[in-house]
């Protein structure tokens, strides 16, 4: 089965964009099946989190990504793993694309050693440096200048004239007015950094609709003189093509770009928010029926005769089982050893590799403190 051409039913909205955006995407069965599988895995993973949270197996804050899967999927499809990625606390599914597995993500949420962050980070704090994924930021907006720093480092390491890897920082419509975003954008623009400011506009920041938080809710225009583009964030192909264009622009020395994905979260803000007081059930239902990002890919596959519905059903069944198996496996995880409490506060060696401990780490019961107050410094250094 060869490639198919999919015209976009919606145009990219652009702002001071000095190049043309495509009107269609070329794809094929393999790609689409790949997206479908990953996005469906995300979906099942998040829904399983919901269940486990309600069963009190997952603690604290837990922000789910279902509804928004096409954004992360589209970014990943456009990028390679040399490109750096940072996002907010809503990070499970990005982790899955960048070094995490369903099992290690569940393990993290259950607070086990086998977790992506060894049970020390929890829902909001997943990372994989090896896969150029830098989190997992719990503080609204903070990931954005940090992301600009990732792009700074990418440029720093690239010989002049060569294409640079890019960095992307994702943030929400609620976060979009954080001043530090502008501070980062100004430097990215001044210094021509390969930086993508990616607004995941899911229409609400907690219980506040975008109209109430943002005097300008065309987020793709918020760079002012910096080019911007808006796209349907429920359409993985549109996101992919948009991100490809953005990456091409940024990596060739043109500086930053704003990219807004128009998307929706099905769940409440976090597990403690029912998500139904500030928006009505109709709104959610109509999103699900009209714009679901997974249904969109399934439909493409079926309409273009690239897969039959039964095949997709079987895949879904398999994935459901995989996710359940992953959960089961994760539940066999081990409680972090007590030493984890005071490990990873400092690291040693100029090459960042040695495990070290301060000579004295005070504990609530001082008699149980680690090390000795009669020693000094950070040992192992």
């Amino acid at each position: 089965s060869g490639s198919i051409t999919v015209p976009f039913s919606r145009e990219y909205d652009t702002h001071k964009l000095p190049f043309e955006m495509p009107k269609e995407a070329v794809t094929n069965k393999e790609e689409l099946l790949g997206y479908f599988k990953l996005m469906y895995t995300m979906r099942r993973m998040e829904i399983t989190c919901d269940t486990e949270y309600k069963a009190r197996a997952i603690r604290g804050f837990c922000h789910l990504y279902d509804g928004q899967e096409a954004v992360a999927m589209g970014v990943e499809a456009a990028f390679d793993q040399k490109d750096s990625w940072i996002t907010s606390y809503r990070c499970h599914c990005i982790s899955l694309l960048r070094g995490g597995t369903v099992e290690s993500i569940f393990a993290e949420l259950l607070g086990y050693s086998e977790g992506v962050s060894h049970g020390k980070g929890g829902s909001m704090h997943m990372y994989s440096k090896k896969h150029n994924f830098y989190g997992g930021q719990g503080i609204v907006g903070a990931q954005v200048p940090v992301g600009v720093g990732l792009s700074f480092a990418a440029k720093y390491a690239t010989p002049p004239g060569e294409k640079t890897p890019v960095a992307i920082a994702m943030y929400g419509d609620g976060a979009a007015n954080q001043g530090q975003i502008w501070e980062g954008a100004n430097m990215a623009s001044l210094w021509k950094l390969p930086m993508i400011f990616c607004i995941e506009n899911n229409q609400y920041g907690m219980g506040t609709s975008k109209e109430r938080s943002s005097s300008n809710n065309k987020y793709y225009t918020m760079g002012n003189h910096i080019p911007g583009v808006r796209m349907d964030g429920m359409n993985v192909l549109m996101v992919r093509e948009g991100m490809k264009a953005a990456k091409e622009w940024c990596s060739t020395g043109n500086g930053p770009i704003y990219v807004e994905s128009d998307t929706y979260r099905y769940h409440g803000h976090s597990m403690s928010d029912p998500g139904t007081t500030y928006r009505n059930r109709d709104e959610i239902a109509s999103m699900r029926t009209a714009r679901d990002p997974i249904e969109y890919v399934k439909n493409l596959l079926v309409q273009h005769n690239l897969a039959d519905p039964q095949e997709l059903k079987n895949i879904e069944k398999d994935i459901r089982k995989e996710v359940q198996d992953a959960l089961k496996a994760a539940k066999n995880g081990s409680i972090p050893k007590f030493e984890e409490l005071y490990k990873d506060i400092y690291i040693g060696g100029e090459d960042n590799s040695k495990i070290v401990y301060p000579a004295y780490i005070r504990m609530p019961d001082r008699a149980k403190s680690i090390g000795s107050i009669y020693e000094r410094g950070v040992s192992g250094m």
Partner: protein, 330 residues
Amino acid sequence: IDMPVREAINQGLDEEMERNENVFLLGEEVAQYQGAYKVTKGLYQKYGEKRVLDTPITEMGFTGLAVGAAYKDLRPVVEFMTFNFSMQAIDQVINSAAKQLYMTAGDIPVPIVFRGPNGSAAGVAAQHSQCFAAWYSSVPGLKVVSPWSSEDAKGLIKSAIRDPNPVVVLENEMLYGVSFPMSDEAQGKDFLVPIGQAKVEKEGTDITLVAHSRAVGHCMAAAEQLAKEGIKAEVINLRTIRPMDYATVIASVKKTNRLVTVEEGWPQNGIGADISANIVEEAFDYLDAPIERVTAADVPMPYSKPLEEAAVPQVPDILAAVKRALYREK
């Protein structure tokens, strides 16, 4: 009657808004959503959008805005969804609010309240669990209070709102749902808890336990256990961290000759360290044993539950410190 801390704060806010038109609330989700932790429930409905404002998630900006409004005699009550986020705004709190009266030689008071949950909660990890009691209470120009019980909570928020100075009110998320008795007086509209005065929650003669916020509860539990062993612990609920009521602690230590401080913040340069240093300066000769501090572990907060529990003071940690202070004679 019993009342959860959440409701006590809510009542205090409500009464003060009713009493003074210039009092207004702002913060993230305080209005239509009624507060991330529902502390401001019903107030938007009652006072409308002029006086209860949902802000964008821009702590530095809305804190600055509130400070400016206070310069012009309004009485803003700023909610930080948690005090962790106040770090984005701390320059405005310190440099524009706390120092302003002094720099203006008394010309521009800043009658403002900064409130919200502080310190550790449950399973929210390192970025959402920091205690800011020591930082804020080091700053002249600020007052800092930290309620434990419902009476504390109501009386202190009301005093804070009436106070013409910037007041930081450090609440605790895990106490919001906890019920405490409210006296008849405390249910009234004129009930105030004075800023700057600690409260002896439980009298005792053998050892003094000093704490604020949630740690007071741990101290009360510890005192109960100790009582079973015939040890009479005096428990002091600081209520205010700045200006610190050293007098009450000194008086108690002069009676018990032994002191244990308990806090959920980090050990270095903490509240306990400060109390210890002051007691040493003022009542050294009354001490029959070294002052013991019980603090959070000197680590960022981990997510995993057993680690998290190990990171903050528990009753056994307090008991261990008490035992050391009791049996280890000078």
